[in-house]
Amino acid sequence: MNMMQRPVGSPSPSQWGYPGGRGWGFHNSHPNEGDDVMVLTAERTEAHGRPTSYAVIDCDIHPNLAKPDALDKYLPERWVQYRKAIGGRGYSGSYYPRAVPNASRTDAWPPNGGPPSSDLSFMRYQLLDAYDMDFGVLQPLLGAGGQRNLEWSAAEASAINEWQIETWLDPEPRLRSGLVIPYEDGDLTVKEIERRGSHPGFVQLMLAIRTSEPLGRRKYWKMYEAAEALGLPIGIHFGGQGGYPISGAGWPSMYLEDHAGMSTAFQAQVISFITEGVFEQFPNLKIVLIEGGFAWVPVLGWRLDAAWKKLKFEVPHLKRAPSEYLRDHFWLTTQPMEEPPRPEQFLELIEMAPWLQDKLMFATDYPHWDFDDPEAALPKVKLPDGFAEQVMAENARTLYKLPTRVGQK
């Protein structure tokens, strides 16, 4: 898509280069109100030292290729030819066209004409600087892991990782990312982890939630072994395709169902991880669930425990109640926040699973349409002490071993 094809509602070119790099992107602000927003920003910056009330680490940012051939320079000639001639072949069937082009905010199309989130300077301007973020964690959604041709999956994953380093991680010290891996094959995954897993820019592995087998199954254990050895969490993002409908009720009809229904796919994977005994085998393994919601967590724990008490004989490898593995091994990002009709009900949710205070990590999902604004995301209630600080930045800082700010150790 070029500039002439920008969606209706995109900012006009005169608004891109706004001085100071902060003018909009705030909740309730509009690009046309640039001057007012600048004043607001200045006040906030003065009062808090940053435009938001607390430090922000964004755990879900989607970088994109500026051009379809952007990976070619990192691919062997065989795979350049393959990409051009055949391209991606996944476990198809889960095509639910997004509500907007690139699933993106209409104002996220950068001035250089590339797709949203393909231009670092515009990302800095609209996201990293606008919210004065300490760090942002990238999740490239380029589908490499779900390729049926496993060699191509591995080649594409390697190319994406090289592209990530050169385009994002090296030029921008605030960015970190997930190492893209051909997760449907254990040996190829281990090879990529050995090749690039120690690069300091990669703070986790990156998978999609819809895999071709439940993630607790043994075909994935080599990956967990390698990740645990390097201390890398397993980040698992919304999406992907494993060839199956989103749940045992078959294929739904609407994008709305695919989008809201993704929480069911996440729950099924949690059940698999726990039931298969992955955390008995890999006691230091950490799983990060990205864009799967989190309000379902307490009830799933109770249901697992209730069933386990009756069916223990089937899973003698489990040494503890399932809800304990859930509490100890899973982190969850916030966006899209489940919003109760009364904000106090959010506090009830936290009371049902108090450990969420240590495990929830803020995410915007930039540049996607369902972006959560750091200033507006948390419910407007008196949250437990330290909750906002932990969720907005500190839980991620601890998990990903990030310094206090860029330049500070």
Partner: protein, 363 residues
């Protein structure tokens, strides 16, 4: 290594101080021969001489403790196959005013549509003759083969006016979600006969139970069933079933319900962002749920902290959604005192024990 016990606790009932309506009593076809009186000579001959000996069900493994409380297995046949035991262990023991029999006989796992329809009819005739006409407290769900909805609708028309049949039984695992237009003949027939459509635990559609394929353990099949109910709920709303069939009521049976509040938060929010796709919807999903759906009480999937259950009941936003169930003979609670959440108000208790079901099923 010492082996874990796989024994379920002894079956026990409890007089809760008022007659109750039990919306989930599972009954089981004892053997293929039990259906012979309800099959034609052609089918008896086919069953005798072919490899087909009836539907195969793996949703409730016969020997699993979750399937049968101790003491529920009669001398002959599996748990749930004896009217005498159901009368003694459920209807009498719990002071049941009405009890709804759910006989999930896995006709949905039969690919041959004629076999599925024939076996479903035989089960319905067996239910009518050997259960409904022998105890006036009993009601039943109509078994249908959902793979060919037009044939299912025909079966609903055949038996739907018998006063003993109060709802249609659809296993929650399905080839496609039940809101889809292909299933509308079932919804239309149910509405025509003023029957509830119930989605129930289990199913054998051939699809795996999760979006990532087939899990290894029965424990996973069991736990993940609530996610399948979640998919169905959203689909029923957004495909416009409630808009298209204004009198239709939908029950979720053995679905769990503690997941409902947080799930409604999620889908109401998504609906607000994406409702352009579903212009026939007149209100947020949670409103359809409150107006047109009910849920069986068991399994509770309860928090160990009773205060959380009080919060969840409040978060439902309505006292009209839950209907008492024992889920006999399945093992859901260790003692009958655990059948109800603690801390219910008098009104909530009365509604759950009988009045919600009475209004929903028109008893």
């Amino acid at each position: 290594m010492t082996l874990e016990s796989i024994a379920a606790p002894e079956v026990r009932g409890l007089n809760l101080g008022q007659p109750v309506i039990d919306v989930d009593i599972n009954c089981t076809v004892p053997s293929i021969e039990a259906l012979y009186p309800y099959l034609t000579e052609h089918w008896r001959e086919y069953i005798t001489t072919s490899a087909f000996k009836g539907a195969i069900d793996t949703s409730y493994p016969r020997g699993a403790p979750t399937t049968a409380l101790s003491g529920t297995t009669p001398e002959k046949g599996p748990a749930g196959s004896s009217l005498e035991l159901v009368q003694k262990q459920v209807l009498d023991a719990w002071n049941v005013e009405y009890g709804i029999l759910n006989c999930y006989y896995a006709v949905d796992g039969l690919h041959n549509p004629d076999t599925a329809a024939t076996m479903a009819s035989a089960v319905n005739d067996w239910l009518r003759a050997e259960w409904l006409e022998r105890d006036s407290r009993l009601r039943a769900s109509i078994l249908v083969g959902p793979r060919v909805p037009e044939m299912a609708a025909k079966e609903i028309d055949r038996v739907g006016d018998h006063p003993g049949f109060v709802q249609v039984l659809l296993p929650v695992m399905s080839e496609g979600p039940y809101g889809h237009r292909r299933y509308w003949p079932i919804m239309e027939a149910a509405e025509r006969h003023d029957l509830v459509v119930s989605l129930q635990f289990g199913g054998a559609p051939g699809n795996p139970p999760t979006g990532a394929g087939w899990p290894s353990y029965y424990l996973e099949d069991y736990v993940t069933m609530s996610q399948i109910f979640q998919t169905q709920l959203l689909n029923l709303v957004v495909e416009g079933v409630f808009d298209q069939f204004p009198k239709l009521r939908i029950a979720f049976v053995e679905s769990g319900w503690t997941w409902l509040p947080s799930y409604l938060w999620r889908i109401d929010k998504d609906w607000k962002g994406l409702r352009r796709e579903v212009p026939w919807n007149k209100q947020v999903p949670s409103e359809y749920v409150k107006e047109r759906m009910k849920f069986s009480l068991q399994p509770l999937d309860a928090s160990p902290d009773p205060r959380h259950m009080t919060m969840l009941l409040d978060q439902l936003g309505s006292d009209d959604l839950l209907m008492f169930s024992t889920d006999y003979p399945h093992w859901q609670f260790d003692t009958p005192e655990q059948a109800l959440p603690v801390g219910l108000s008098e009104t909530q208790r009365r509604k759950i024990l009988s009045e919600n079901a009475r209004a929903f099923y028109r008893f």
